[in-house]
Structure formats: C-alpha cells, structure tokens
C-alpha cells in the first residue's frame, strides 16, 4: 500500500465513470499488457477478449466453463440451478471466465463497469494466462493449442452418436462415465505418454474413415457371434496381462470392458480426456487464483501510480478486491473451506514481502529467498514449478499462518468432539503447514480406487479395491449409487472391496450388477 502514497505522475486517466466502450477496453488492454508483459515480464498466450451477456455467462458456467461442450442433461441442470440462484440474487456471476487455450480466450460480461473490465483483464488475460502458459502441470497435461478443436470434435461426435444410437443410449454411457470421472485420471504421466488432443482427434477421424471405406452392408446381415470377439481374444488373460492394478478406471473400461461398442468406448474416452484436461486445474486452483489475484492487484496499483485510473476507479477496485480475498472464519455460517483467492493471494504477497523486506524469522525459514531482491523472479518460478500442495509446503510462512489464525483439529468419526492438535505457534507451524499441504493434495481428495482383478475367462467379474486410509470408508449412499454405473459399463458383476491400506483387511464390500434397460 505504501506505493500509493508516492506522488502521482500527472496524467489524464484513461476513463471516467462506469461505462465502457470497445475502444476504451482496447486502450485499457494495451496499457495492461504494457505493464503485465513489459514491466512485470509475464509470459502469455495471445489474448482474445469476448464480450458476453449474463445469460451467456450462465451458459458457459453450466458446461464446466467450456463453451463448446457436448450436450448432456447435467449441464442443463446446472444451468437451471445457477440461473435460479442468480435470479433470486443469491449468487453473483463471475466477472470473467478464461479458457486455457492458445489464443487464450477471456470472456468478460457486458454488465461489468469499466473498472471491472480492467480488473478482469488484468486478472484473467494476464494472471491466469501466464499461469496456464508456464505452470508445469498445464504444460505437461493440456494442449492449449488444440483443446478448442478437440472440444468441437467431441461435441460433434456425441451429437452424431445421439443421432445414430438415440439420445438415451448416449446418455446412459455419458451418465456412467461422468460418475467415474474422478477415477478417469492418470496421475502418473510417465507410465503412458499422453497423446496430444490434436492427435486424439486425428486418430478418431482416421478410424472412422477406415470404417467408412471398408464398410460393407452385407456384413450387417451376418448373424453376430454370440460371444463378442474381443473377449475371445482376451480369454485366459491374467490380471498381469491387463496391466492391473489400474487406477484409471475409465481407461481400463475403454480398453477392456467386454461388451462396449466402439462408439461407447470413444465416448468414455472423451469424458476421460475432459477429466484429464481439468485435472491440473484442480491441482493448482489455489495457486492459479492466487497468481491471477496477485497480478491484477499489482497491475491496478501500477496503473493508479501512473495516473491511468482515477481515485474513484481505484476505490471501486479495492472494494471488489477486498471481497474477493475475504476469508470467513471457520465458525461463520458462510464458511465453506479456504477461499483459494484469499490463501493464494496471501502466500504470493508474502513471498514478495519475504524477498523484499525479510524479518529475522523469514531469514530462518526461507534462507534461500529472504532478501534475495527480485521478488517477481522468485514468484514466477513458484508459479511454474509448483502445484497447490507443494506450494504450501514450500512457501506458507509463519506470518501467513498467524494472519489466518490457522489451527489443526483431529476428528475421530465416533467421538462427539474434535481435538485441537496444533495452533499457530512455534511448535505448531510445521505441523500446520504439512497438514494444510496434505489437504491440497489432489490425490488425497479423491478416494483411492483401483481395478484389482478382472476375470475375463469365467464369470467376468470385476473386482475394484478401495484403499482405505485412516479408516475412512466410502460414503455408502454415494458408493451404492455410483457402483451400478461401473457395472453398467463393464457389463457384468462388479465387486468393490474396501481394503485397509495398512493391514490389508477387507473392511466392507459392495456389489452391483448392470441395470437392465
């Protein structure tokens, strides 16, 4: 905040009042880019800014932020719910939406005031954009340059399937695949090389071309062999040959489920690709928002210092910035976990502080970076080389823990009380930091499920293991509702064993058969 007290360069602000025009937005963007890229050295994809209405924003929301998403009733449901909340004034819409693509597409709403447009462009077109382009997880897992093409391919493919096989048949596959989406992620990149999305699309097109060329109507009249051929080929294969255990259930189903038609496999594949595409976002949510918030804060302040925005605009900005980074206390009624903007911003700002004005404590905790001088360089390195859990483990400082007044509790399900096991003091800092990092480990958020065994020769029973950690079993209701979807895709009986990770004892068993339709 000290910066703002500096004498201001006398320059006429870019705009006054709340109204925006396309020229103004363009002009403001140029200044933002000058500061973001020129002064701060951000490395971004070229930006494309699209102005949309509130309805279109709701639309985009409903299809998980993707404008080109294939059709499914669940998106309609989310839209209806979001719309109802919005109309009743229970929820404000996001001011922006940004797609990790090259060029980076930023949606801004027409309802925004000019100041909000500036904030949004600094936040998304600079902050998120830089993060997408530089973070190692995004580099490793997502193809910014082909995602849009892949999406439109997926949309067309699903639509064609609906036409050929009926909306309901497609819906059944999608429903089941969606239920298993969190189990459709390969967490270890080394095992299978991720194919780029462009290649994916290419692959399917070629396959279909081949099908079309070799299609002969006569074959259709031949009686189908009762036994699907793939099973015959695979009969007698052991779990080892199927490369079990397999954590990516959707992948396993796509490759090995005996009864699926090829279009059903392709649809599962599409869902799997989506899950994989969104996986880095889940792993870096807090950092990503922290990055964007830090960038917009920095850019807006610099703009103010350079006289590009007026006092009124600055106040408006600070007001909405403050509400974005607000963290409710755990007892407050609207508390719903950590606000990723708040935590991400606080840690990032704190790195800046540690680098520029370290205290003795910082020198002890962060000897490598404390007082090293170039805060932005350190922060940019963090943005590219870390994800939420490792970021916390590396950079969460005692000061931020004190500011947030963090404490750790231990919860035994049976007990009516939870016990406080650490607070923000000398003895608690490290423990708090470890615990919070663990909470952000994406792998720890999803239950650990693996395909353990598949009997392809005999009963065709599929066995799935849930590796139970600390005695936490699956939510029974959810498991009972989800397992039939797995059985549906597999086509035969599925057993789910909840196995204790340490003792190897089976704690609980679920079973499901495919539903007839």
């Amino acid at each position: 905040m000290a910066k703002k007290l500096k004498p201001r360069v006398p320059r006429r602000p870019l705009y006054e009042g709340a109204d925006w025009t396309f020229d103004l937005v363009k002009e403001a963007y140029d200044e933002i880019e000058r500061i973001g890229v020129g002064e701060m050295g951000l490395d971004i994809y070229p930006n494309q800014i699209e102005v949309i209405t509130a309805e279109q924003m709701l639309d985009a929301y409903a299809s998980v932020g993707m404008p080109q998403m294939y059709r499914h009733w669940s998106f309609g449901k989310h839209f209806a719910r979001e719309e109802a909340l919005y109309r009743r004034g229970h929820r404000a819409l996001a001011y922006e939406l940004v797609i990790n693509s090259d060029p980076c597409i930023n949606y801004i709403m027409e309802e925004n005031s000019m100041t909000m447009q500036v904030l949004v462009m600094a936040h998304a077109a600079m902050g998120h954009n830089h993060f997408f382009k530089n973070n190692y997880l995004f580099k490793q897992w997502t193809d910014a340059d082909s995602i849009l093409d892949y999406l439109s391919f997926a949309k067309r493919y699903v639509a064609e399937c609906e036409e050929r096989y009926g909306i309901e048949a497609v819906e059944r596959v999608l429903d089941s695949a969606h239920a298993l989406m969190n189990q459709g992620i390969s967490r270890h990149p080394t095992r299978r090389k991720a194919r780029t999305l462009a290649k994916e699309r290419q692959r399917e097109l070629q396959r279909r071309e081949y099908e079309a060329e070799t299609y002969s109507d006569i074959w259709r009249t031949l009686p189908r062999s009762a036994e699907p051929r793939e099973v015959e080929n695979k009969a007698g294969e052991s779990a080892g040959k199927l490369a079990l255990p397999e954590e990516n259930i959707l992948y396993f189903l796509e490759k090995s489920a005996p009864k699926l038609e090829s279009w059903q496999r392709e649809i599962i594949r599409i869902v799997r690709m989506m899950a994989q595409y969104f996986y880095p976002q889940r792993q870096t949510k807090m950092m990503n928002e922290g990055c964007a918030t830090f960038v917009h804060y920095e850019i807006l302040n610099r703009m103010y210092d350079q006289g590009l925005i007026g006092e009124g605009a600055m106040l408006e900005f600070l007001h909405s910035h403050a509400s974005v980074v607000f963290q409710p206390r755990f007892e407050e009624p609207h508390f719903s976990g950590f606000n990723p903007y708040a935590l991400g911003f606080a840690i990032t700002r704190d790195i800046q502080r540690i680098v520029e004005e370290p205290t003795a404590e910082d020198r002890e905790w962060f000897p490598e970076i404390a007082g090293s001088g170039d805060a932005l360089a350190v922060i940019k390195e963090a943005w590219s080389d870390y994800r939420d859990d490792s970021f916390i483990l590396q950079f969460l400082s005692p000061k931020v823990m004190r500011d947030f007044r963090l404490f750790e509790v231990h919860d035994k399900s049976a007990a009516p009380f939870v016990n406080v096991t650490a607070v923000h003091d000398e003895t608690g800092y490290r423990r708090l930091r470890r615990a919070l990092a663990r909470h952000y480990e994406a792998a720890a958020q999803d239950p650990d499920l693996q395909i353990a065994d598949a009997d392809l020769a005999g009963s065709r029973q599929l066995v799935v293991h849930h590796k139970v950690r600390n005695g936490v079993l699956l939510d029974k209701e959810a498991a009972d509702a989800t397992l039939p979807h797995l059985a549906q895709l597999w086509g035969f009986r599925v057993r789910l064993l909840e196995v204790d990770g340490e003792t190897g004892k089976t704690l609980k068993e679920h079973e499901a058969l495919p539903m007839p339709h």
């Binding site: 406080v420 096991t421 936490v472």
Partner: protein
C-alpha cells in the same frame, strides 16, 4: 489482441441441454406443475413458473469419502481461543469437516428449485390433452399454411416455371454466346438456293455457303435455345394463415348460493379452458355472461367479483349467449366454446327450456360445451341436482357436451383432463 462482441450470438445455446434435462426430470416436473397449478391465480396463469422438484432422477453420483468412519485431520482458519489439547464439540451434521469438501454444486440437496418458461409450463399442462372436435380445429388451425410468393429459385416443378425470367436469361445467354439466329440461317439458305439455281454454278461459292450453314447449325446445336441454367421458377413460402379464432363463453350462476369458494373453483376451470384455447387458436375472445334470474354480459372483473341476490334461471344465460353469437360471432368464422359453471340449482320449470335451447340451438353451434358443477366438499356421493340430472340425458346423446363435478381446487385439473379425454373418445 482481439475483442469480439459475442452478445449477439444466437441465444439459448444451452437449449439442447435444457431439453435433455427436462426430459430427464419429466416425471418430477409434471408433478410439480400439477401442484403449482392448484395454487395459481388467474393473473399469473399465463406465465412461467418456479417449480421445486426432488432430485431423485437428477443425481450425479460419484465415489467420495464418507464421514461415518475413520479419522482425519484438517486445518481451519480463524482460531480465536483454542489451545492445543482443547476439545470442540462437533456441530450437528458433522459440518466441522467442511474444509475437506469443496463440492460446489451441493449434491446433498434433496430439493431443487428452478424456473420453467411459460411454454414449458403450458406444454406440461397440456401434454396429453387433445382438443375436441379436432376435425374442425385442424381445418381452421392457424398452422394451415398459405403460399406466399417469395422470389425465384432455379429449381422447381414445371408448373411454377417463370416464363418471362427464363426467356430473359435465355436471350442474354444466347446473345453473349453469339448463338446464330433463325433469321441468319434462313438468309444463308436463301443465298444458297440462289447460288444453286444460278448457271453456271459456282462450286466454290456453294461450298463456302454450305460450310457457313454447317457452322451455324453446329453453333445452334451446341448453344441451346433454352438451357437448364436459364430456368427460373417462382418460389412460394408457406406462411401460417392466421385464420383461426375462437370464442369462449363463460356462463356462471352468481346467485347468492354460489359462495366465494365455489366461484373460485369455477374460475380455475375457466382459466384452464382459456389457456387451452389460446394454445390452439391465435385469437381467443372471451365472453363472460353471469346470470341470476336474468343474464348479463360483463367484464372479467365483475364476473368473478360481484355477487347478486336473486334466484336462478339458467336459460337466461343460454339465451344471452345465443344472442351474442348471432350478433358478433358468425359460426363460419369462429370456433365456439362454452363453459358453464353452476352449483346445480335452477328453477324447476326452467330445466326443460334449458335442455331445449341446448339441444336445438346452442350445441349445434358450439365445438364443445362443458358443464361443471361445483359443490362444497361432502362426504359420500353428492346428491343429484336438478341441473345434473337434466344434463345427464343430453350428455348421453351428444358428443360435444360434457359434464363434471368438482369440490376442491385440486379436483379441477383432473376434471379438466377427463372432460377432454372423454370427448376424445366420444368423437
């Protein structure tokens, strides 16, 4: 950097998702609509509706860790007084663990509230209802299209060939491609004839002329007089013909025996009938006739609001209706519907006259005549009113007459459905 204005992109991009969602939730939504209908007022009836449905068929399940077993650690912000070793009582519902669960779409919610548009709402109401006397309706339905000229196309049936335009194209093409005219050919042939008659013949000249004629014939063969690309056809658009109109007569007994509740019941019935008609006809006129011993045409407001004292003579209303039809609604142009509501009282000696009026003059005019008898809720079978027993005879003989009883708002909708499905069977 580009700025793109997407605001004008086609609206309702999520329509496909919406339809899939409604289809999925159909059963629940239908229930909710029926419920909503019970409590609706006339003024609101023609709008969308907020409905609350159970999310049973809309669950999107996934595997997740439960709360019932095991041990977990989590970090929370905002500690004020706790020290290591303190115990905190868990809030009800185990909300202490919320830090672990960021599920934003609140899967746990059982109820789900959203808005249906007017169209969706009405579609659901009328889903399986059919208009009686569909024959006439279909003939006059506003969907019956009327061809309207709409420019020209290059393809079409021969009957639509536009000669003037086709010939204009042909001429232009022939000129452009230098197709020799008939006159040119004739001129050469005449010259050739002259040469042939001349003596001594000049073979060179003849050969030259013959060559030119051959060339001209060749050109005329290769450049057609009328080529397919010249063809122009008239194009017609089919525009819906706004010919359908319907008038709906609401007849109601407003004598003292009709209480507010009974009128309210009747109102809902009229309301539904009106809605139903507006779905099928572009224009629907509504005529309100209330009666005690005398009938009077009134506006909607006083139709439902005012009470009068006096006895009941139903035939007065029928006569009034007959008069208005004759005056304002020629049967050739209007589909006439009538709905009568009463509590079943009438002067005894008026019944014969009513039946006479109905069978001889009114029923032949109307598409459909519906009588609804509203009663206070009673236990057991309702006593048969004189109107009911007299109308029953008509109902047995005439297909476009139907009657029903209703005693609570919730009865109205089933009554309404039954009226029309019954007519469908009879028709």
């Amino acid at each position: 950097m580009h700025i793109v204005d997407r605001r004008l992109n086609p609206k309702a991009k999520s329509l496909g998702n919406r339809q899939r969602f409604l289809r999925r939730a159909r059963g629940e939504v239908r229930e909710a609509v029926r419920e909503a209908l019970k409590g609706r007022k006339v003024a609101e009836v023609d709008g969308g509706e907020k409905v609350r449905i159970r999310t049973k068929s809309l669950k999107e399940p996934s595997f997740r860790s439960g709360r019932a077993t095991g041990e977990r650690d989590f970090v929370l912000p905002g500690n004020r007084e706790y020290m290591v070793g303190d115990s905190i009582r868990k809030p009800d519902g185990g909300a202490g663990g919320r830090g672990n669960k960021g599920s934003p779409d609140g899967e746990g919610e059982d109820d789900f509230v959203f808005s249906l548009s007017r169209e969706e709402f009405l579609d659901l109401i009328f889903e399986d209802l059919k208009l009686p006397n569909l024959v006439k309706a279909r003939l006059k339905d506003m969907k019956s299209p009327k061809p309207v000229r709409a420019g020209f196309v290059t393809d079409g049936p021969p009957a639509r060939l536009n000669l003037v335009r086709t010939m204009r194209n042909s001429l232009a093409r022939r000129v452009a491609l230098r197709r020799p005219s008939e006159a040119e050919l004739q001129e050469l042939e005449r010259l050739l004839g002259e040469e042939l008659e001349r003596s001594p013949p000049e073979p060179e000249r003849i050969a030259e002329l013959e060559k030119r004629i051959r060339h001209i014939l060749h050109l005329r063969r290769s450049v057609a007089y009328i080529d397919p690309i010249d063809l122009q056809f008239n194009r017609y658009d089919r525009v819906p013909k706004p010919s359908t109109q319907a008038v709906m007569f609401c007849l109601m007994d407003v004598s003292a025996s009709m209480t507010e509740e009974l009128k309210d019941l009747a109102k809902r019935f009229f309301m539904l009938l009106h809605l139903f008609l507006t779905r099928h006809y572009r224009e629907v006129d509504v005529v309100f006739i209330r009666h005690t011993t005398e009938a009077k045409e009134v506006d909607e407001e006083s139709f439902f609001k005012d009470t009068e004292t006096g006895g009941t003579v139903i035939s007065s209303a029928l006569q009034e209706m007959q008069r208005i039809v004759a005056e304002r609604y020629p049967v050739a142009d209007w589909n006439i519907y009538a709905a009568e509501a009463s509590d079943g009282h009438n002067f005894d000696d008026d019944m014969d006259r009513c039946c006479e009026l109905l069978t001889s003059s009114i029923l032949p005019l109307t598409q459909y005549f519906a009588y609804i008898e509203v009663n206070e809720p009673t236990t057991g079978t309702p006593r048969e009113s004189i109107v009911w027993s007299a109308y029953s005879e008509i109902a047995e003989e005439v297909a476009n007459f139907a009657m029903q009883r209703a005693s609570s708002p919730a009865d109205i909708y089933p009554v309404f459905r039954e009226l029309f499905s019954g007519a469908e069977k009879a028709a």
